[in-house]
Amino acid sequence: MDVPSALPVADPAPADGSLPASALDELGSRPFGVYVHVPFCAVRCGYCDFNTYTPGELGSSASPASWLEGLRRELDLAAHVLGSPPAADTVFVGGGTPSLLGAEGLGSVLAAVRQSFGLAPGAEVTTESNPESTSEQFFAGILDAGYTRVSLGMQSAAQHVLAVLDRKHTAGRPVAAAHEARNAGFEHVNLDLIYGTPGERPEDLRASLAAVLEAGVDHVSAYALIVEDGTALARKVDRGELPAPDDDQLAAYYEMVDGTLSGAGLHWYEVSNWASSEAARCRHNLGYWQGGDWWGAGPGAHSHVGGVRWWNVKHPARYSAALARGDSPAAGRETLSAEDRRVERVLLELRLAEGMSVRVLDEAGREQARRCAEEGLLAPEALVGGRCVLTDRGRLLADGVVRRLLP
């Protein structure tokens, strides 16, 4: 998983990282996850606004070594703050580009998590990887270290699309990497796709989907390209060098993705995520959508424990410096009101195939839910059963449905 670059404004976080007792009391009532943010990339992709840095940007201010040092300190601090920390049900190492750490580096990361939290039996342990920085040995190494799942940033199988996205891997590399991962023994492999890149034709997307199916993975994430402010892509769009993605086109592409994948037995379980079975779903990400608790470690990482959200300073140098002083690296935090938590439930759970209980809604919201069902945005039979579940059309209009359910 990744960390976007804009930080929200909120209250300052206490220097010792301590949490209110009310939040700690909720620990253990839900699955517990650990997220580790690796803020390094070889180059910056033109569309990406995540909290990641190239060696050129960092200079000597931070390095993977100083980062790992800081990470160990933060995980220690976490264990201390949480009292008797629960064993991690899921671990997700995201970025940035975790594969730049190599199998050995990733092994050290997981070892540090194990030391502070321990892993629950059957824990899901994922790492994101960029196809060009993986190999047979890499996969064998991380499997050996204890990883159970790999997520590969494929984006597209069309070379010209990869070029517009500034991706450095060759068109065939992601599928080959997926094969290598599976051959190494990974049961759970995900491929990330981006659709709607300027210049991407329907046949390009069709080819990407065919490649995904050929790779035989059990999980796919497909995201509509978002032109984020401040990125190189946004500048090109502003200057008219590239057309902005068109919403109607994106809708058509989404339908194409969904049609192809479900035809091949990969079913949606979240608006942008498809899996071949319940076991193939990413439990860590489900934690985000279902109000789970997790500790996010690393620069800019976000955490949630019992209704308290906080986030770390973004720059790796400031991150390590705070921890070296013995301080929490948190930059800000917010304590959610009951209404905030209700709003978030609607916002997040509605995106799931499982949907959301209508009991989360107030009276006006329920009335809107009935209307949405009449208009074909929510499934009528599910609503009768007390759940709000998006229809195919509703999935594409989910944000509007959320606004209506929260009148």
Binding site: D2, P4, A224, A251, A301, H302, H304, E344, L347, L397
Partner: protein, 614 residues
């Protein structure tokens, strides 16, 4: 420094009352500036351009809205005189201000831009002055401009007035050149006021203004007798009597005085808080031994154009009422009445003198009172005779019932267009398409022409002035005045969103223009209303007959399909922002219509709103 003019009860023979009249922008207020300086009433360091344009909105737009009077001292050949000068607005919407100013004067400076020549309001204001038997002093201004052509335009002016081109004075209000001579000329040419000093007092109220600190300030010109602060006065129309708190002169700030005598212009303050108790056109006399006969008054200004004003946020309705009441204190021409709209909720149907008046009022309501408003498409007043013989006056299109109507009368105007003769063809074509009838044409000079038309007011307020400007490359000027009514084949065009008529978009148009209006509105709305979760048909209809149709396609994608990982806070903030945006939408049935759509759809590219200067 004290001057001759500081003391009142001046002998009428030494008084000259005059106003400056002109087409908009020809430099009246700038000329007034030079007069303020030359006579020494405003010190050099206190001077600022268009000193008498005191309202923020006047300064911002660079136009005069309210007439202003000032008492000035002036010596001619060693003899002290008192001048009462009134600077007037040039825009056609404020002609009412000019006509009141004229009532207080014996002479008028007719100012003409030496680079532009006579324009439509030059003529309109000249005719008004002549009707009042005023002495006209023709003056060319801006002779400093390289583009000035004094020879040509003095000839034009002489021809219109019936004098010699050499009688036309030349000044530059900017540099002050010729202004001294102009003031001398005023003293020589403008007749002194006449009145009976010993008769019971009679003073004409020519303006009445509400001031937060001082209450109602009433501007008067004394015709007979005198007004002194110790008197009790009587308003002759109502018989109401008031104690005088203060009587004074304006030079150019208010200064209390011992009173005002025959021919003098100044102000009085009573305790009243409501300008309606001090009505423009009324005659002031003394309570005891008062006059028997009032002076001839003014006609009340009559709204020409109506528009609904609605608060964007329904809970601002009481604030809007209060704000309108406050503005009305200073603006006798503004009328308002509560009305409701299915689409817009509670609001007011307001009457205005013209589109600029509408726009300025709206602007002031928004800025001075912090209101967020929607105004509906402006319309004129119709007299509708029903089949059963009943008669209605319709100021709001939604009060109009298609069918059952026997006859409709619409207001018409006499309008004057002045332009280079090259454009005669284009102007005639345009006027014809606006149902205009040519009433006459005159050449002002070899290559400049005056065209006179009779045209429905509704056509003028629609987008006539813009079309006129664009067809004459900006050279044409326009003036109009009401000229009765005519029967016409008019229909109401409704605009329907998802089958429901949106009253705010209904308009009354000539049958021949109905299709054009319907198509234009439907197309505009399709562009202005964002796509919704369902398809939204937009229709234009006369009664139940659909005359135009557009469709806003349903939005297909409205979901953020990108992983933000654990940053849920960002997601929630995004939702809050979206909901903020939704608040600025008006729900029309099930359709969310942004405020901008109302504003843009209802703005007729008109003479008032886009080009403030005529």
């Amino acid at each position: 420094m004290s001057t001759f003019a500081d003391t009142t009860f001046t002998t009428p023979e030494l008084i000259r009352n005059f106003c400056i009249i002109a087409h908009i922008d020809h430099g009246k207020s700038t000329l007034a500036d030079r007069m303020l300086q030359l006579t020494g009433v405003v010190e050099e360091r206190a001077m600022r351009a268009q000193y008498l344009d005191r309202m923020d909105i006047e300064r911002e737009r660079g136009i005069t809205i309210k007439a202003q009077n000032v008492r000035l001292p002036w010596q001619l050949e060693g003899q002290d005189h008192v001048l009462h000068m009134i600077d007037t607005p040039g825009h056609v919407d404020f002609t009412y201000e000019v006509s009141r100013a004229l009532e207080a004067c014996e002479g008028a400076i007719l100012l003409v831009d030496a680079a532009q020549g006579i324009e439509a309001q030059t003529l309109a204001n000249l005719y008004l002055a002549l009707e009042n038997d005023l002495t006209i002093i023709p003056v060319l201004n801006k002779i400093d401009l390289p583009a000035a052509d004094p020879e040509k335009y003095s000839a034009e002016l002489a021809k219109i007035i019936g004098c010699e081109p050499t009688d036309v004075l030349r000044v530059s209000a900017k540099t002050g050149l010729g202004v001294r001579e102009l003031l001398d000329e005023v003293v020589r040419k403008v007749p002194p006021p006449v009145g009976e000093a010993e008769a019971p007092p009679r003073a004409m109220i020519f303006d009445s203004v509400y001031d937060t600190y001082r209450g109602v300030v009433t501007y008067i010109r004394v015709v007979d007798g005198k007004i002194t602060p110790r008197q009790r006065i009587k308003m002759m129309s109502t018989g109401a009597t008031h104690e005088l708190l203060e009587v004074g002169i304006i030079s150019p700030e208010p200064k209390p005085s011992a009173g005002l005598g025959v021919g003098e212009v100044g102000y009085l303050i009573t305790g009243v808080k409501d300008v309606r108790q001090s009505k423009v056109g009324d005659t002031v006399t003394s309570e005891r031994k008062g006059a028997a006969e009032p002076l001839a008054g003014y006609r009340d200004p009559k709204p020409m154009v109506y528009s609904g004003l609605y608060p964007m946020d329904g809970s601002d309705y009481p604030d809007l009422r209060e704000a309108l009441e406050k503005l009305q204190l200073n603006d006798a021409a503004l009328t308002f009445e509560p009305e409701t709209s299915a689409a817009l909720g509670f609001g007011f149907r307001c009457g205005f003198l013209g589109l600029l008046h509408l726009e300025i009022t709206r602007d002031r309501l928004e800025r001075e009172f912090g209101l967020d408003l929607i105004s509906t498409a402006p319309n004129v007043v119709y007299r509708v005779i029903m089949d059963d013989g009943k008669e209605h006056v319709v100021t709001n299109p939604s009060d109009w019932a298609n069918g059952k109507i026997a006859e409709v009368y619409e207001p018409i105007t006499k309008c004057t267009v002045i332009a280079p003769s090259d454009f005669i063809g284009a102007i005639m074509e345009l006027c014809q398409s606006k149902r205009g009838q040519l009433a006459g044409m005159d050449y002002l000079s070899e290559d400049r022409v005056e065209l006179r038309y009779t045209m429905p007011l509704a056509e003028i307020i629609f987008d006539f002035f813009d079309s006129l400007k664009s067809r004459t490359r900006g050279y044409a000027s326009l003036d109009y005045e009401e000229a009765g009514e005519q029967s016409a084949d008019l229909v109401k065009v409704d605009i329907l969103l998802q089958g429901e008529a949106v009253d705010a978009f209904s308009a009354i148009v000539h049958r021949d223009a109905a299709y054009g209006y319907g198509t234009k509105m439907a197309t505009k709305l399709r562009e202005l209303i964002p796509r919704q979760q369902y398809e939204v048909p937009i229709q234009a209809a006369i009664g139940s007959r659909i005359i135009a149709r557009e469709t806003i396609r349903a939005i297909r994608k409205d979901v953020l399909a990108k992983c933000y990982g654990g940053d849920i806070t960002r997601k929630r903030k995004l939702l809050e922002k979206q909901k903020e945006g939704k608040k600025r939408m008006k729900m029309v049935g099930r359709v969310e219509v942004p405020q901008e759509a109302f504003v843009a759809a209802l703005s007729t590219e008109d003479s008032g709103s886009k080009d403030k200067k005529k």
